[in-house]
Amino acid sequence: MTQFAFSFDVSRCSACLACVVACQDQNDLIVENIAFRQVTIHEEGELSSVKISSLSLACCHCGDAPCVKACPTNAIFKQDDTGVVDINRDICIGCHCCELACPFGATKFAEDGKMAKCNLCHSRLTNNLEPACVKVCSTKALKAGPLEELTKQKTEKASVIILKSLITTQNK
């Protein structure tokens, strides 16, 4: 199984919040006005040294997902092809055990009392389309794909930065 996941580049996120709404539009989160994705802004430092940064977080599609273990009816499961943590809402009993277990607050509860969550736009993914939140992201802070590919991209990006600094140091 290839594990799919999100990746996030904190240096590019502008807290524009488009990912939150694109997800709501894709998933028809209209009546409840709940959101599967949340953007949190954090301020660090004071006056001239202040830094404001933001993180967009949804379900992390954990490898060893606590919500899957906590679910008494096996409504929450991992998709075979992608490792996406998904839910069969037909057998969810709305017990909130997953909410207790999830360290990220990724489980949401709809008006029918049952859990609803991000499934990495599983049917888009298997149809070679990016998840709605990734497609909408103008700064490319948010990406999705096979975990190995995502980490490889991050390693390459970091390596280029390291190489550039080494070259600059050498030239001095």
């Binding site: 240096s11 590019r12 996120c13 502008s14 807290a15 524009c16 919040l17 488009a18 939150v20 709404v21 694109a22 709501q24 539009d25 894709q26 209209i30 006005n33 959101a35 301020e43 004071e46 006056l47 001239s48 202040v50 830094k51 404001i52 940064s53 736009c121 599983h122 049917s123 888009r124 298997t126 149809n127 389309l129 709605a132 497609k135 909408v136 992201c137 103008s138 700064t139 490319k140």
Partner: protein, 710 residues
């Protein structure tokens, strides 16, 4: 359409995947919530939009959108959409309307407008456009065809004052050529939240070494990328620019060749900048002297430097035009005007390339019409801008001087655009006849005698061209909601009812647009063949156009000393004066109102008042909140979420506190246009820049106090 054998129909439907199995079709349109007009792929099933995405092949947004654009479904299908023409019952103060037919509505409008024209002259009827942009050439043509010089728009508070400043300096404006630049000076604008879909290019340029100097009191998403961030006291841009010029001149970093050959007034300018030493400039702007020197050196000594500013932040001050002149003077001073990697001149028509828009709009010369509103008071505006300034409109409605204003035909009117918005609201009630055309029955529409329902961009034909060369002609992707109609078609129908002798307008929108874009060599039919839009043949715009033709100023050169300003009785140099109400200029007032109020800076989920009513965007910032620095909050025992009173010497509003270092100490930022907390109530109607008439939205004096909950 593509078939998807691996997925069940349920899965395809759940994912809203287009195709034969799901009967979901992707139709191309544009978003019209802001003027970026991003390309939209609307997923349509059974005549209903079920999802939106950005158009991948559109170079303007490359498949992306912002939070507002992504919320388009809640905009187009909002329950508050007006569905029929509405006629007010029971007098001016009533808010009761009855549905009437389009025929009845257009008959009433034309007969009332013609009656008022007969009695008081065509100039007593104002033609106004709020935020909508595409209809403007048509509305201006209608106004002048009717005989009224009083065509005015929301641009009375947006963009034109920066254009005036540029025209005074250079005769035209230059856009930042970021891709070829080594250093970008970003002056009080936040492209991440005002042009969200267009920032990937900027980030990529930063990744490959573009240096960033950011100027502005607020921390923006750009700040963490900036090499230098100069957090000025609001309203002191002019002083900072003059301080930078001082360093550039003293250290011999200016382009003496350009200055000697292509400018006038340099000696006086040089003499004037002498007083703006780094330490004197620090005193005024609160920016450390060392940072001013560092920024001036980086901007002036980079091989190519460009300047990016917003449409309005630098000019929403009572000293706005001169501030912006001082800022843009740095471009010429360093030889970066109309140069590769500097600020280059591109055609500035509504459509992004050379057109006959001006001829189309100005269907009658100014000389054949009465003077515009405030033409005498704002001579520079009237000389450089081809429309009336709307901010003095309420004053003329109240005074009836120099002639009465009795009626207004408005598209997307929002009286909360005006400083002292209650004053504007009262003036609208004095009109004999007010028509508003809108999507929703807004608070302004409720003041109208007659309201017409417009439709959204998803429901109509439209032409959009993105600079430099991508264009789209949209077909409606859904049927209009209710009986709503395209704004341009409403104008064309009205022209007919008013009996305008205008054969071109009679031929309809498409024929008019073909006439306007004729010099471009393509037609609307060409665009129809490419539903998602198409690239037009690229027009080479040469650099250094002034070397051929000179500058389009009275002297033919860049003017450090403006001959137009001198003639009109203003300071010819870009002189710095304090904002009318600042801690320095109004120390008495500052005893009671010690904080600086900065209003209207962009928030990512709102576009003026347009997306307040959408549950998705509203949930992202539910309450009207004033941003307050922790230091100022602590002094007043105010914490995030507290109910507070935000007041100026004019009035006060009740909002929630949001404690954040986004604003520097001593500054309070408040978003505008909230119906329940309208910050423009706090600003005097005449708190304006003397040259442009622009309101000083971004620097005045205020105080915040905690309201104890019972």
């Amino acid at each position: 359409m593509i078939s998807h054998p691996d997925l069940s129909i349920e899965q395809l439907q759940e994912g809203k995947i287009s195709g034969f199995e799901t009967q979901i079709e992707i139709k191309k349109t544009t978003c019209a919530i802001c003027s970026a007009n991003c390309g939209i792929d609307a997923s349509v099933k059974d005549g209903v939009v079920i999802k939106v995405e950005g158009t991948a092949e559109n170079p303007a947004n490359k498949g992306t959108l912002c939070s507002k654009g992504a919320a388009n479904r809640q905009y187009i299908y909002h329950e508050d959409r007006i569905r029929t023409p509405l006629l007010k019952r029971g007098g001016k103060n009533s808010t009761e309307f009855e549905p009437i037919s389009w025929d009845q509505a257009l008959d009433i409008i034309s007969s009332r407008m013609l009656e008022i024209k007969d009695q008081s002259g065509p100039e007593s009827v104002v033609f106004f456009s709020g935020f909508p942009k595409r209809l403007r050439p048509f509305l201006k043509r209608l106004a002048h065809g009717f005989g009224s010089p009083n065509y005015c728009t929301e641009s009375s508070t947006c963009f034109y004052a920066t254009l005036i400043a540029n025209k005074l300096n250079y005769g035209c404006a230059g856009e930042a050529d970021i891709q070829n630049s080594e250093c970008l000076l970003v002056w009080s604008t936040n492209p991440f939240h005002s042009a969200t879909a267009d920032v990937s290019n900027l980030l990529d340029a930063i990744d490959t070494g573009l240096k960033i100097i950011e100027v502005g009191p607020l921390i923006t998403p750009l700040s963490s990328h900036a090499d230098i961030h100069l957090r000025i006291r609001p309203g002191t841009s002019g002083a900072l620019a003059l301080g930078m010029a001082h360093v550039i001149i003293e250290e011999g970093l200016y382009d003496s060749d350009f200055v000697n050959h292509w400018t006038v007034g340099f000696d006086e300018y040089r003499k004037y900048t002498k007083q703006f030493t780094p330490s004197a400039t620090e005193e005024i702007t609160s920016v450390p002297a060392a940072s001013i020197i560092q920024a001036a050196r980086l901007y002036a000594s980079s091989k190519t430097s460009s300047l990016m500013s917003g449409a309005s932040p630098t000019v929403h001050h009572t000293n706005g035009v001169q501030n912006h002149r001082a800022i843009t003077a740095l471009i010429g001073l360093t030889g970066n005007f109309d140069r590769k990697g500097g600020n280059r001149v591109i055609p500035s028509s509504h459509y992004g390339f050379n057109t006959r828009q001006d001829e189309f709009e100005q269907s009658k010369p100014w000389s054949e019409m009465a003077p515009r509103i405030a033409q005498e008071v704002l001579p520079v505006w009237s000389e450089l801008v081809e429309q009336a300034q709307a901010i003095p409109l309420p004053a003329q409605i109240h005074s009836g001087k120099p002639y009465p204003i009795r009626a207004m035909l408005a598209f997307g009117l929002n009286y909360r655009m005006w400083p002292g918005s209650d004053n504007m609201k009262e003036s609208l009630k004095k009109l004999d006849f007010l028509v508003d055309i809108d999507l929703f029955l807004t608070d302004s529409a409720k003041l109208a005698d007659l309201v017409l329902p417009a439709c959204t961009s998803f429901e109509k034909n439209d032409l959009r061209v993105w600079s430099p060369n991508y264009a789209i002609w949209t077909e409606p992707v859904i049927k209009p909601v209710g009986e709503s109609r395209s704004d341009i078609n409403i104008i064309i129908d009205l022209a007919d009812k008013l009996g305008l002798d205008d054969p071109l307008l009679k031929q309809g929108q498409e024929a008019c647009l073909d006439w306007i874009i004729k010099p471009s060599g393509f037609t609307i039919s060409d665009l129809k063949a490419a539903p998602g839009g198409m690239f037009l043949p690229e027009i080479e715009t040469p650099f250094f156009q002034y070397k051929e033709k000179g500058f389009p100023t009275p002297s033919g050169k860049m003017e450090f000393c403006s001959s137009i300003l001198k003639k009109a009785g203003y300071d010819a140099l870009p002189k710095y004066v304090e904002p009318k109400h600042s801690p320095v200029s109004a120390p008495e007032m500052a005893l009671d109102y010690p904080l600086i109020l900065n209003t209207g800076s962009r928030l990512p989920m709102f576009m003026h008042s347009r997306t307040f009513r959408l549950p998705w965007t509203r949930a992202l910032r539910h309450d009207p909140m004033a941003d307050i620095n922790p230091i100022d909050g602590e002094r007043r025992d105010i914490k995030t979420g507290d109910t507070i009173k935000l007041s100026t010497h004019r009035s006060s509003i009740t909002v929630k506190a949001h404690i954040t270092q986004r604003v520097p100490p001593g500054v309070v930022a408040m978003f505008h246009a909230y119906p329940e907390a309208d910050v423009n109530l706090l600003i005097e109607p005449d708190y304006c820049d003397p040259i442009s008439g622009y309101p000083g939205f971004k620097s005045l004096l205020c105080e915040v106090t905690k309201i104890m909950d019972d």
